[in-house]
């Protein structure tokens, strides 16, 4: 057992309570804000010596000086003289600790006088009630970092039952931007989760929305791991390797030629799948893209009519010139044109109770979607989607929406999360637990402002997701500005370095001034954690993620500039068949339009056939190649006999 480093003290002015106590230490003791200590009571209660565990939340230092003026007088007003004093004044380090746990827990009494010890690893487990879920048979601990103080290195575990459900769920991270806190913490935590999530609890995967920058674009590439971090990885029993299974999804650029992602460097395209949706996929979430002013009750009724009676069905009507089967935006445009022409011919103002103005407005708005979300939404109706139904265990699915317009981001988020939810409800997603990581919650789920579809979805996940195995890992810079039901439902909260303005908001009033000061000065790789089992926030260190960081990845794998169509086709197909060459692509596509070539590429990428060349070539309509017509041989003129006297 280590030596005592302090003694509990209490005065009438500063008494100890069941939830707080005071102790002093030597000047050079390793105690600081966030240090976990153990008090051993001197007298038994009900035959048991009480042990009290606490975390230091405030510190005081003072001397026996009664007035600052005495010090000034003592040194003749010259600060430089102070250094020559033969003796330094008696000085005290007095700390206030918040009680983490008392053993025995009953009767709950004020903390008794006693010696104070630095908590060792076993003490930390008891203090944070981790012993309950680290014991044999439970084993639901997920390492989140290392608590470090005065030579004690103790692994801090989160309880998987309280991180991923069913008891509690969700995780929220707050921290200022640019200090590699939020994304790094999530990357690290996913590594730990994939390593330590108990097999008997089922499979787990993650869907990460990359909403800005290239940070999440290199999860499958190794990053630099320094020696200090290696030791942390070893302590935390996580291999310092990048993720084994990562799948990227990104829509095309507006031109539809290359993928709209930071990861479109040719060397990285092998696991990047295009994300394209057609009319059917989009219409279901039209609400996301149409604001309240657009979609009144009449317009809503028409959209419902189209969804239920027109899309994917053979539709005929007396006013229409022909039967329509609408499967794409192009088909829908044709249908609208036919309806409006039919109404004009009849000189009618309404059709099937829908007023012509409503029809024109809905046509305008829906047609506009394919323009606003170009690259994601295809006119042709081609669909390339996440593998709903065949999600794989311990796989990260990254949806890169960083370069997209806000509308397209919202649409992607709303549809993917809805689909995930549907599949999890039916238990046919492919995995039992799914983590959804969303950054920039200040933007997607603000505490004030309009009630958007995306915010409603986030609230829904936060409040009901844990019953389905759908867990939200969210991050933002200003927790105080996020909808309180989203952060309030997060069982676990991580805090990186915080902005002083943010810390001055009422949400942080429960923290002591010293803890707030520590939060404002946290180093990279340090976090403060709140977890249902911990009665007080705990400070931990976590290793730098063992994946390539965004900046390094962007330098090593620069984003490809917009290339020619042929080159884009080559890039798209070569990961499927490395033998494909540019001349081959040029030869196959020479006679076809850009639209046909893109459609053939999309179909090939979606099918991922064994014989890529044959499949790609088969997507084109047959065009008979021009063949030289053989000139008919003119009959030879007989030559006159040499002896023909009439010949010339």
């Amino acid at each position: 057992m280590s030596e005592a480093l302090g003694r509990v003290v209490a005065t009438e002015r500063k008494p100890n309570t069941p939830h707080e106590f005071h102790f002093w230490t030597a000047i050079d003791s390793p105690v600081g804000i966030g240090t976990i200590v153990r008090v051993d009571g001197a007298k038994p209660i009900d035959g048991q010596i009480p042990h009290i565990y606490g975390i230091v939340v405030e510190g005081f230092s003072y001397t026996d000086l009664q007035s600052p003026m005495h010090d000034v007088l003592g040194h003749d007003g010259l600060p430089t003289m102070a250094g020559y004093a033969a003796t330094e004044r008696a000085e005290i380090r007095l700390y206030t600790a918040a009680v983490l746990r008392q053993i025995p827990e009953e009767p709950l009494q004020p903390v008794p006088m006693g010696q104070v010890f630095l908590a060792e690893e076993a003490d930390v487990q008891v203090a944070l009630r981790m012993d309950g879920y680290l014991k044999e048979g439970a084993n639901t601990g997920i390492p989140v970092g290392v608590y470090r103080a005065g030579g004690t290195d103790a692994v801090i575990y989160l309880d998987a039952d309280f991180l991923l459900g069913p008891e509690a769920a969700h995780l929220n991270i707050t921290g200022v931007s640019g200090l590699a806190t939020k994304t790094s913490a999530v990357e690290w935590l996913l590594s730990s989760l994939f390593t330590h999530f108990p097999a008997d609890k089922g499979s787990i995967a993650a869907v990460c929305f990359n909403v800005k920058g290239p940070d999440l674009c290199y999860l499958d590439k190794p990053g630099k791991v320094e020696e200090g971090d290696k030791a942390l990885y070893e302590k935390l029993r996580v291999e310092p390797h990048p993720f084994d299974n990562v799948q990227y999804f990104a829509p095309y650029t507006a031109k539809g030629i290359s993928l709209n992602t930071f990861r479109n460097n040719e060397a990285l395209l092998d696991n990047v799948v295009p994300l394209t949706w057609g009319l059917r996929e989009v219409l279901q979430f039209a609400e996301v893209l149409l604001n309240k002013d657009d979609v009144d009750a009449k317009a809503d009724a028409l959209i419902d009519f189209i969804t239920q009676n027109v899309v994917d069905k053979e539709f005929s009507d007396p006013i229409l010139s022909r039967k329509h089967k609408v499967q794409s935006f192009a088909d829908l445009e044709g249908w609208f044109r036919d309806v409006l022409q039919g109404m004009e011919k009849k000189d009618g103002e309404s059709w099937r109770t829908h007023h012509v103005a409503t029809i024109r407005k809905v046509r305008n708005r829906l047609s506009n979607i394919s323009t606003r979300c170009a690259g994601l939404v295809t006119d042709s109706g081609a669909v390339s989607d996440l593998p709903f139904g065949s999600f794989e265990d311990r796989t990260v699915y990254v949806v890169d929406v960083a370069n997209l317009e806000e509308d397209a981001q919202d649409l992607i988020f709303a549809r993917i999360v809805s689909k995930l939810r549907e599949h999890l409800e039916r238990r046919d997603l492919g995995v039992k637990h799914l983590v959804v990581f969303v950054d920039e919650l200040n933007k997607y789920a603000p505490g004030d402002g309009a009630d958007t579809y995306v915010r409603k979805m986030l609230l829904d996940i936060a409040e009901r997701g844990r019953y389905l195995g759908l867990v939200l890992f969210s991050a933002q810079q200003f927790r105080s500005q996020v909808h309180r039901r989203v952060v309030g439902n997060s069982g676990t909260a991580l805090f990186g370095r915080m902005d002083a303005d943010e810390l001055s908001t009422p949400g942080y009033a429960v923290l002591s001034p010293a803890t707030r000061t520590k939060l404002a000065t946290l180093e990279k790789g340090q976090l403060m954690i709140r977890h249902p089992h911990f009665t007080q926030p705990i400070f931990v260190r976590f290793p730098r993620p063992s994946v390539m960081q965004g900046r390094e990845g962007a330098e090593r794998y620069p984003q490809a500039s917009e290339v020619s169509l042929d080159a884009a086709i080559l890039r798209a197909l070569r990961p499927l068949d490395p033998s494909i060459t540019l001349p081959w692509v040029q030869e196959i596509t020479a006679l076809y339009t850009e639209e046909e070539i893109i459609r053939a590429r999309n179909a090939t990428q979606l099918a991922r056939p064994e014989n890529v060349k044959a499949y790609f070539a088969a997507q084109f309509r047959k065009i008979l190649t021009a063949q030289p017509v053989a000139r008919p041989m003119a009959a030879t003129i007989k030559s006159a006999p040499e002896n023909d006297p009439y010949g010339f």
């Binding site: 000086l65 003592g74 003289m81 020559y84 004093a85 033969a86 003796t87 008696a90």
Partner: protein, 335 residues
């Protein structure tokens, strides 16, 4: 020397319970009354001393004094006492006394308790047994001892064979004298132990002449803050009262009766402007040595170096060094 008073603690309550059993007429004094040490009641006197530096007492500017001067003292010694009259049995006072002493060693400019000799705390109950025969049996005295209070009879005959009168003030005075002696004994034992090891110069609060071992040790330096006895008279008195900050008097020899002779001088630590004439004035005692003037200069520089940090908020801060204040605070905490 610290004189303090505080409310009854657990051990003093135990002593009082024992007394109550034996003395049905015992009257408690609520909270106890503190008794001042006898020195405060002794008359101030002037006493001449033999000058050993020069032929007459004069003011000497201590050479080389600056704020950067280091101090050669390695430790500080002080004692403390608490004297409380906790009750009386028909006027016969019952006195509790707690005495303590400690050496605080300077390590890296911070003061810590000397590890070689732990601080001493002793408690005693001072009883005039001659006038309280109910308590004068061995079992009762043993019971006090068990309760943590050694019983001291304050009604024994003095060296002339005379017993004290039953006057309560006389009996209280006897008790106080006994407490004083007890404290001085503790201080002397610690000082002797320090000097025996001879580690480094020890700053002692008060004189050093009580024991020959300390009085003759080069490690012991006594600094006397009270001046009820001034070892100067006539012109010499004017010289001492006129000392300026950083000045000392010539070295003289103090040879009290029944005590060891030591060398001594006065030193002004702070300017007395606006204060009484003895503001910042201390008298220093050291053992006899060959070059008293050099020794006085060196020790004076050390003492002046000890004026920072100030011993405030102690009322005697003009004369008290911070190390002695630290001793007193320490003793207040443990006794």
């Amino acid at each position: 020397m610290l004189v303090s008073n505080s409310g009854p603690d657990a051990t003093s309550r135990a002593a009082f319970r024992l007394l109550s059993e034996k003395l049905p007429g015992l009257t408690a004094i609520k909270g106890g009354t503190s008794a001042e040490p006898l020195t405060a009641t002794e008359p101030p006197i002037l006493r001449s001393a033999q000058i050993v530096e020069g032929s007459s007492l004069r003011a000497v500017k201590v050479p080389g004094v600056s704020r950067q001067n280091p101090s050669g003292f390695g430790a500080f010694l002080d004692g403390a006492q608490k004297v409380r009259v906790i009750g009386h049995d028909l006027g016969i006072p019952i006195v509790l006394g707690t005495v303590s002493a400690a050496v605080r060693v300077r390590v890296d400019r911070r003061l810590v308790t000397w590890g070689h000799q732990p601080p001493r705390v002793e408690r005693a109950i001072y009883l005039p047994l001659r006038f309280l025969p109910q308590l004068a049996d061995a079992r009762t005295l043993e019971a006090f001892e068990t309760a943590g209070w050694r019983a001291v009879d304050t009604s024994t005959a003095d060296r002339n064979g005379e017993f004290p009168s039953q006057h309560p003030a006389v009996l209280v005075e006897r008790a106080i004298r006994a407490v004083d002696q007890q404290r001085e004994e503790l201080e002397d034992r610690l000082a002797e132990a320090w000097c025996a090891l001879g580690e480094s110069p020890l700053f002692i609060d008060g004189g050093i002449s009580r024991t020959p071992a300390v009085a003759s040790s080069t490690c012991a330096v006594g600094v006397v803050k009270s001046h009820r006895t001034l070892y100067v008279d006539g012109d010499a008195l004017r010289v001492v009262m006129g000392l300026k900050p950083g000045e000392r008097s010539s070295v003289f020899r103090v040879s009290p009766r029944s005590r060891s002779s030591v060398l001594s001088w006065y030193l002004r630590q702070r300017t007395p402007d606006g204060h009484d004439a003895m503001w910042g004035l201390v008298r220093v005692e050291v053992s006899e040595c060959d070059r008293p003037a050099d020794r006085a200069d060196e020790i004076s520089r050390w003492i002046l170096a000890e004026t920072s940090p100030l011993a405030l908020p102690d009322g005697r801060w003009d004369k008290m060094s911070y190390g002695i204040r630290d001793c007193e605070e320490f003793l207040r905490a443990i006794s």
